[in-house]
């Protein structure tokens, strides 16, 4: 097996091949049949003979000192096999994605409601539940820090040794009139915007199975976004070598960022190793809401200045996002919120002060579009205010200031590659609006189509329709100098290609794309993807940040191409021609005898390659100025929303959504549509219904009864157009597509609500009372 390191493994580009189910085709998911039959094994479906059920006791207090823990009553119960607390963690007492600051179990202090205190393994879920209740924990309740502004101003003693500000990121860019003041234009608008705490609300609960091995090692079958980073954290906490902790991807029931952090992973392995039996965890919905991070809530104060003709001059921003009790990915989230706060527009100067805080609220971390979602709501809302102030059409104002290739963003980085901001705006604007856009439904129309639906509350005479427009942008892949890589292997034998990758399929369709790449590069429909595991291949990096088609897709492409080159050399040797007489192109060998499919060229022999793929290097941001080339690539998107509102009752129906998205090149049209429609639904959710309600550190609505996500009745009909400008350094020119749909869909809906109601609506989600009672 040949291993080629990154020195020679530059990101591949290339053209589509000749296999009908290859790249560019709407190939069907290889797991689709199993999923529709109910035969696909999700992590919550795993079971083994003799397995135990794990359960975790969690803190009922947002901030308290642990005076005493007595697990004796639980251990004494029949059916209880093991109980573990902080005292039983043999390795690192803490874990974390970027900084290791979160205890496996609270030892001395609990810092949020839901923090793990102890776990039990028992012969049934019910016994485990009762055993958790039997554990005695005496708390000395402390005054919680729940106001992020008090974390910023330093008026509260640190609730964690690492302090109450996880990261402060200043940005100072361009023409400054003073250290903290940009030069300004004659026209200025400013406002403060607020974003509530959204939840990823995937359907498949945190779950999986830990299986101990006789040699003291452990296998963990788990739903996750990033097997290797989980493996490293788990091994560190268990005090085991990484190779003694093998993580295997179990069926993932959605992720959206919430599976980047470990959940029960360490707990399950500890209990399995202690009891010597397989241990299953499966959170219930309320525990899931407490057991994963959420989208950061925050306040974003923003000021734009412009020339009288609408040319933007400066921006000034202050961002405070609340990271809750532990850091998770806050470090990256605040950097996104800070540097994308300008919107995809040219500015001459920028001053941004961005904080992400530590409080006794629920921990927040990654969610689809992390940081850029919050920023987008602010910059797009303010662009509309500026348009009104200037008397310029809002779409025209955006076009006038749209970034182009070669422009600098406020980190000073010059944008290279495809930057089709103008194109997405114009394409979205030019999509036909639904009939009678200026009018809400007619009185004779089905009342189920009115706001309120089956609740039948809207009065027809009150109904108003509004249209809103917004534009979003975000980087693709990791940034700020993170060592971002992905491994893949390819084995070709007897016309069948086997692809090995640890990339987490979370529903997005990686398994389809990986097959399509193999088909195109090797010229065979027969491509098999091995199960993802840390035991078989190096890291794939995270399924997040719109990065896997580029990163793992690039790795699979390179591995398959390396195999194809081996086949070409072997064919030349077997046929006694010079090696350079055989070329590889689009899944075929071009030989002196004519073209032949790569996979069919040399039967009976086995070819293998393993590749590590990295993208172009990125660099940290300067601590004082926020300047630096920290990004690899960007994607852009525009949305136009149509809403019907009953302003008297605050009822809303999002009728229609148009979008134009910069996708580079479409690799699978059907899956692309699915990503765009699904992301829009989450953006609509943030606009009008989704919020984790936290009072005094306590989550008030940890259920699908009280945390509402869009149903099939709540989502708009989507009309979309894809802007294809191949990204120069991306595999096949394709950009990541997963996050962009969530960016500007939210502000587009709110802009439409403002147009319909005349309300300011500076906060999302917009609640009925914000419209009816403001």
């Amino acid at each position: 097996m040949s291993t080629i390191d990154t020195a020679t493994a530059t990101t591949p580009t290339g053209t589509m091949g000749r296999v009908s189910t290859g790249l560019g085709a709407s190939a069907t998911r290889p797991d689709g049949i199993e999923k529709v039959r109910g035969e696909f094994a999700f992590s919550s479906d795993l079971h083994r003979p003799g397995m135990l059920w794990g359960r975790t006791l969690r803190s009922p207090h947002p901030y308290a000192r642990i005076v005493r823990i007595d697990v004796g009553p639980a251990l004494a119960m029949a059916g209880v096999a093991a109980v573990v607390t902080a005292a039983d963690v043999p390795g690192s007492p803490t874990y974390g994605l970027i900084s290791s600051d979160q205890p496996v179990y609270a030892a001395d202090v609990v810092r949020y409601v839901g923090e793990a205190v102890a776990s039990v393994a028992a012969d049934s879920p019910e016994t485990a539940r009762r055993a958790c209740e039997a554990i005695v924990v005496d708390y000395e309740v402390l005054e919680p820090l729940v106001d992020p502004e008090r974390a910023v101003d330093g008026s509260v003693a640190p609730i964690h040794p690492d302090g109450n500000v996880v990261r402060y990121l200043p940005i100072r860019f361009g023409e400054l009139a003073g250290p903290d003041a940009p030069v300004e234009g004659p026209v200025a608008v400013e406002a403060s915007f607020e974003v509530g705490m959204q939840d990823q609300a995937f359907l498949g609960p945190e779950s999986g199975l830990a299986v101990p091995a006789p040699d003291g090692s452990v296998d963990l079958h788990v739903s996750t976004q990033f097997l290797h980073v989980d493996r490293d954290q788990v091994a560190d906490c268990l005090g085991l070598a990484p190779e003694d902790v093998r993580l295997h991807l179990a069926g993932v029931g959605g992720a959206f960022g919430a599976r980047e952090d470990v959940s029960f992973h360490v707990h399950g392995c500890l209990l399995a190793l202690r009891s010597g039996r397989p241990v299953k965890f499966s959170y219930l919905r309320d525990e899931s809401f407490l057991g994963h991070v959420h989208r950061h809530p925050g306040t974003l104060q923003l000021r734009f200045t412009a020339e009288a003709d609408g040319t933007l001059v400066s921006m000034t921003g202050r961002v405070v996002l609340d990271g809750g009790a532990y850091a998770s990915s806050s470090f990256a989230v605040i950097a996104n919120a800070a540097r994308f706060l300008s919107g995809p527009y040219r500015f001459r100067a920028a001053v941004v002060d961005a904080y992400v805080t530590r409080t006794n609220n629920p921990p927040c971390g990654a969610m689809r579009g992390f940081g850029a979602v919050q920023a987008c709501f602010a910059h797009e809302s303010l662009m509309d205010l500026l348009a009104a102030e200037l008397g310029i059409d809002p779409v025209e104002l955006r076009l006038r200031n749209a970034m182009r290739t070669g422009d600098r963003m406020i980190t000073g980085q010059r944008l290279t590659g495809a930057v089709p901001v103008r194109e997405v705006i114009e394409a979205c604007r030019d999509l036909p609006l639904p009939d009678a856009v200026d009018a809400p439904p007619a009185a004779e129309d089905d009342r189920l189509a009115w706001p309120g639906g089956a609740g039948r509350t809207a009065d027809h005479g009150d109904l108003r329709r509004g249209v809103g427009f917004a534009v979003g942008w975000k980087n693709l892949m990791f940034s700020e100098g993170h060592d971002d890589d992905a491994w893949a292997a390819c084995v070709l034998e007897n016309g069948v290609a086997t692809v090995v990758s640890a990339c987490a399929e979370v529903g997005q369709g990686w398994v389809t794309i990986a097959q399509q790449i193999g088909r195109t590069v090797l010229g065979t429909p027969d491509v098999v993807l091995e199960p993802a595991s840390t035991a078989t291949i190096g890291t794939a990096g995270s399924t997040s940040a719109s990065r896997q088609t580029w990163m793992s897709g690039g790795a699979v492409t390179l591995a398959c191409r390396a195999v194809a080159e081996q086949v070409a050399a072997r064919w030349a040797a077997l046929h006694g021609v010079a090696a350079n007489a055989v070329q590889v192109l689009d899944g075929e060998l071009l030989t002196p005898d004519g073209p032949v499919a790569v996979a069919a060229a040399v039967p009976g022999e086995r070819f293998t390659a393993t590749i590590r793929h990295q993208h172009a290097p990125t660099y940290p941001l300067d601590d004082r100025t926020g300047q630096g080339d920290c990004d690899v690539s960007f994607a852009f998107v525009a949305h136009r929303a149509v809403v019907d509102v009953d302003p008297e009752l605050g009822l809303v129906r999002v009728v229609h959504m148009d979008t134009a998205q910069d996708v580079g090149v479409v690799l699978n049209p059907r899956q692309t549509v699915g990503q765009l429609e699904g992301g829009i639904a989450q953006g609509v959710g943030l606009a009008v219904m989704e919020e984790i309600v936290v009072e005094g550190g306590l989550v008030r609505n940890p259920s699908f009864t009280d945390y509402l996500i869009p149903t099939i009745l709540d989502v708009p009909v989507v009309q979309l157009t894809l802007i294809e400008q191949p990204e120069p350094h991306a595999p096949f020119g394709a950009k990541g597509i997963g996050e962009m749909p969530t960016l500007s869909s939210t502000p587009a809906v709110v802009a439409a609500l403002r147009a319909a109601t005349g309300r300011e609506l500076r906060r999302v989600p917009v609640r009925p009372q914000d419209i009816a009672l403001d």
């Binding site: 529709v36 839901g114 499966s282 407490l290 529903g507 059907r670 699915g674 765009l676 259920s703 099939i712």
Partner: protein, 194 residues
Amino acid sequence: MTSPPDASRPPTDPAGTATPTDTTDTTGTTDTAPGAAGTYELRVNGQVRLVESPWLGESLLSVLRERLGLYGTKNACEQGECGSCSVLVDGALVCACLELAAAAVGTDITTVEGLDPQGALTDVQQAFVDCGAVQCGFCTPGLIVAVHDLLARQPQPDELTVRESLAGNLCRCTGYGRIVEAVHTVAHRRAGVR
């Protein structure tokens, strides 16, 4: 696999103060004293299945998954909000998490595994694959059952009827657009269109 829990359990929280640990358990048992409720038989997907030593109050969802090994019926909210556990009881669409298993004795229960008597892929299942209505797939079995129910009642539903009928099935991945397409595709195929 699942054995009865310890009978000498501690009293439940007398003050009723909710804590994060204070949740309904996976098996659907609540504060009812656990213990054998008597063996009974359920007719599932045309087969008579023996349910031994169930707990009092055990949900149909728990029995299907943990006792009968029918994991196609999913557990996502366990309070009837998400539809992931949709099954047919005597032809009526229900959330298995809200049904008492013992009360289903004498009924005909159909799960996603039994939609076709011969185990073939149904036209609804095929259309979900064809149209891209499946992403993570966790909601999919429940939706498949719900769509079979809808089309049995209304062979040619209009758009609003489709949406009203499936409003009890949450999906977090797809935004529902391709699910609607899949329903219309089946309706058209059954009508001989296309």
